[in-house]
């Protein structure tokens, strides 16, 4: 990770440490939209599991218009916007700053409106030509693990290991794609004319499935979709399952694996079109086993993206094509 990124994370962490020392870290609000919100879902999940300090995730305008009553000067608000211009996310960061909350923001654009609205802006790089350790997930995980080191000191060694293991993710993603390339590309080709593909997952993976549904399928491919929580599948959604209804299913290597396995066992019986990413088969490239669950969703995300690259190619529908986004005012 670049020193610039390290320093920006460190400044936010130092500010949090000072507040935490005087009992002024009452709750965490993760606030963003679409894919940026999805990027923080696993972090919110991790905080929910690992710390008794309440944490919440909101799409930005829900936070802005239906302000939670627990929000205040002792809150920590973490925002993400790639361009740094998403108006509702900028507004949330500004509200946090104005009320005296700790306002931390991630953006690809230095000096963007979001950058200026937050007290502690953090830059990340983007695109295949950049180092994996400088991209959004890397800086976000670095911040998250660093915060956990402070608020969960009993497991400080584990969280410090997490920071160190960020370096291993690039290798893990490459090795995992080698494992999944054939099955994922075959599924892409076989389903290139599918008008609808469901996604399913649970726990730490739900955000990645949400992102696959909302951003990759609906936004970038105009494929109808819905991110079904594995725990909800049997309580309604499973009735749409049929031989020709495709699903992409993430099997967690973490504590919610049972939910995914149960959903998969059923889906297998009635759909002939399943693409299953089983995190227990991932190559973790030496990442500490106690952190596999949390890192797996990141590796999953990179793997899913490679799958969608093939799908887009076979459909002749470039991922950059939009009919509304950036084409008009809305």
């Amino acid at each position: 990770m670049k020193q610039e990124h390290k320093d920006q994370v460190q400044a936010a962490v130092d500010a949090l440490r000072a507040r935490f020392a005087v009992g002024k870290v009452k709750n965490f609000y993760f606030v963003a939209c679409g894919g940026s919100q999805a990027t923080m879902m696993p972090i919110q999940y991790m905080f929910d599991r690992e710390t008794p300090i309440p944490s919440f995730i909101y799409t930005a305008n829900e936070f802005n218009y239906a302000k939670p009553k627990a929000f205040g000067p002792e809150s920590v608000v973490i925002t993400v916007s790639h361009s740094g211009t998403t108006p509702e996310t900028v507004a949330a960061a500004q509200t946090a700053t104005d009320c005296g909350a700790l306002s931390i923001a991630f953006s690809n654009v230095v000096d963007s409106p979001l950058w200026k609205a937050a007290g502690y802006p953090i830059h990340y790089d983007h695109g295949p030509e950049t180092d994996m350790t400088d991209r959004n997930n890397a800086v976000l995980y670095d911040l998250a693990f660093s915060i956990l080191t402070i608020i969960d000191p009993d497991q400080a060694a584990r969280w410090e290991q997490g920071v160190a293991d960020i370096d291993k993710v690039d290798g893990a993603c490459k090795a995992t794609w080698d494992i999944y390339r054939e099955v994922a590309e075959s599924f892409a080709t076989a389903n290139k004319r599918a008008p609808l593909i469901y996604t399913m997952g649970s726990g730490v993976n739900y955000g990645e499935m949400y992102s696959l549904t909302s951003c990759l399928f609906m936004e970038m491919q105009w494929i109808h979709s819905n991110a079904i929580h594995s725990g909800e599948y049997f309580h309604g959604p499973f009735e749409v399952t049929d031989y020709d209804v495709p699903f992409v299913i993430a099997l967690s290597c973490g504590v919610t694996r049972h939910l995914d396995e149960r959903a998969l066992a059923f889906a297998k019986k009635f759909s002939e079109r399943l693409l299953v990413f089983d995190e227990e088969k991932f190559d973790f490239n030496g990442i500490d086993e106690s952190l596999h669950e949390y890192f797996a969703q990141w590796i999953l995300g990179v793997t899913v993206r490679s799958f969608v690259d093939k799908l887009a190619h076979d459909r002749g529908h470039a991922l950059s094509v939009r009919r509304y986004m950036w084409q008009m005012e809305y």
Copy 2:
């Protein structure tokens, strides 16, 4: 409301009051599956808005397998299962009881497993032949407003009014259906062969849209769907909008109305198949204006159900038909 239901709610409220008086109400967990979870989403939203005590909602097995660290003896856990047999919901209620948390459960079946697992079980009636004030929403709202009276005493008069206004909902639903019948039934007939219908809403209404998607469309009609949050629409999902893609959109009369209006204004331009339920046009039958937002989603739910009755009729697909649910082990 029947005295039996009143008494059961009162017992739970008294237990909560005793705990609250000694500072032992640290957080609220709303835990259930599918439609039962959806029924509690507006309550969790209301608590989030109206009280600084953190509240969370989980599908039951996510709560069971990925236990939040803040859960403990000072938690309040509220569960719902219609039959009282949903194993994961029963397990959640039992876990709450066993650890000394306040475990409150709603079920249509007295002495069901859920009933026995919870410290404070509350019965509700079901079906068109029963009084609206004894059904699930009524007892749930009665409990919610009664709890707010305790934990938000500054607004006690408002919450007591809420309890009283439950009696007005039946009249409001009937009058509102009179307003919406024609447009809703026309939409149902026009879209009876639609393989997919999206739903969209925000804030207090999101749960109702989730229920419409997961239970009414996917489960009971085998119609593909996704409940899009109005605040997320522009951050991915809107790219699937097209002239022949149908949407059911709820326009809140509450604080998140702006999100819905913005989404609707766009959807109107590119889809010719919109069914819009505008809560500002609802007949509230004298319900206190300060409570319109919270009651509107309940009236919306009843209205939506009448719309789906017509859709099911025109499709020749009875709402009671299932191919998997209750037909086999899963």
